[in-house]
């Protein structure tokens, strides 16, 4: 069987489901039993990693795994069962606003004394915490805008044109050195992190995996196009002020020019993207398909729900002086700092 010779390594299993999926991808065992999946905690490490492995076949795949398995009926069946667990939990647990206007409106109010991760990093974040943050966020940022590109064929008219324009900006406006994923790799270099795609998957928490899995879930299903648009809007609306705080954190800790630039760029770019996504993508979509309004609101609020869980996990670890990562960062230049801060 033809297989990918390069690419990220398959991650270390976190339980029976992710172990079975990993083994199947290598041709070394059966897929997980349906009853095992049906009982798995929907936000847990095992289910989230198994789902992440299934989704990654649609992006860069894994070294030693056949690219043809992207459309393997067995993998797709397992993926559907995992998605069902995850999506059902998200629908049940997300407090959803009654209307899109209310969901958007809630995001447009800036808290004066915010207590989120970006506030923490701005005010008291240390370099080792910025490195951990970047390592976990790299799961998304090294494929920044990719999960959202899936929605383009599902939109048309004003919504499609505007969504494509924002994506074009995310992809550097045609210039490779300005692709946002590349800008993030440059930030990682400033922080002394390995920039290889997929390198930090083992280190990322289940809470982090869930935020990225949600994007792939919404992006890969046409039936969830409303949720994808809502999710994208939530990210763009909250990005600008959050990025300003993170840029300040990078400046204060002397992280480096590329680290500052990534977030500075997002302050400005996303102030524009927010306007376009609100007025063109959301309004354009709902003009054509008004029945998707509830899903747009769900996408906005589910994003907030999962981001809050991820943020709470990071802060809970950091406030105890504990590493937020499952595996320590390997960079020898920071070995001393790691040793004093990771558990």
């Amino acid at each position: 069987m033809e297989y990918d010779r390069e690419g990220p390594q398959l991650p270390t299993a976190r339980g029976p489901i992710s172990a079975a999926v990993g083994a199947y991808l290598l041709g070394a065992g059966p897929l997980p039993a349906a009853e095992t999946v049906a009982e798995a905690p929907p936000y847990g490490d095992d289910l989230q990693l198994a789902l992440y492995q299934c989704y990654e076949l649609h992006y860069r795949g894994f070294a030693g795994v056949s690219p043809a398995l992207e459309w393997d009926p067995g993998v797709l069946g397992t993926r559907a069962a995992l998605e069902d667990r995850f999506l059902s939990a998200l629908r049940a647990d997300t407090p959803v606003h009654d209307s899109v206007a209310e969901a958007v409106g809630a995001l447009l109010i800036e808290p004066v004394d915010g207590k989120g991760v970006s506030h923490f990093l701005r005010d008291e974040g240390e370099l080792w915490q910025l490195r951990e943050y970047a390592a976990q966020r790299s799961l998304y940022h090294l494929k920044e805008a990719d999960p959202h590109a899936w929605v383009l064929p599902r939109l048309w008219g004003r919504a499609k044109a505007a969504m494509a324009a924002v994506e074009f900006d995310e992809y550097g406006g045609g210039r490779a050195e300005r692709v946002h994923a590349r800008l993030f790799a440059d930030l990682m270099t400033d922080l002394g992190l390995d920039t290889a795609y997929g390198r930090h998957l083992d280190a990322a928490s289940a809470e982090c995996l869930a935020t990225v899995n949600m994007m792939s879930l919404f992006g890969l299903h046409r039936s969830l196009r409303g949720a994808l648009v809502g999710h994208f809007a939530a990210v763009e609306i909250t990005s600008s002020p959050g990025s300003r705080r993170l840029a300040e954190a990078m400046r204060r800790t002397g992280a480096g020019p590329a680290a500052e630039h990534f977030y500075d760029e997002h302050v400005e770019a996303d102030a524009v993207h927010e306007q376009i996504v609100r007025h063109e993508v959301i309004d354009g979509l709902l003009e054509q398909e008004p029945w998707l309004a509830a899903d747009v609101a769900f996408g906005i609020d589910a994003t907030g729900f999962l981001e809050d869980r991820f943020g709470a996990r990071l802060l809970a670890d950091w406030r105890c002086g504990r590493s937020s990562l499952r595996t320590p960062l390997p960079d020898p230049r920071h070995a001393a700092r790691e040793a004093s801060h990771t558990s």
Binding site: L108, S240, S243, D270
Partner: protein, 76 residues
């Protein structure tokens, strides 16, 4: 945007609360005579004068409340 016909009038979108949206690229002449430029496909110009990246919008026009939280991501 790259495919806009060059002879079409340049569109500017105004709103009561929020930045002025202009099709890019633009050059902006500031009060002190200096010019700054942006080659984004769309540019958001600050109208509330609160931006720390003036003349570009940085969302400082948003209302503020005494709540807490981060909101969703720090970027996308």
């Amino acid at each position: 945007m790259p495919n806009s016909p060059s002879d079409a009038p340049r569109r500017v979108k105004v709103q009561r609360r929020g930045p002025l949206l202009v099709e890019g690229p633009v050059e902006v002449e500031l009060e002190d005579g200096t010019t700054v430029s942006s080659d984004r496909f769309r540019v958001a110009l600050c109208t509330c004068r609160r931006s720390r990246r003036y003349p570009w919008c940085d969302t400082s026009h948003r209302p503020r409340s005494s709540g807490s939280g981060d909101g969703p991501a720090a970027k996308g």
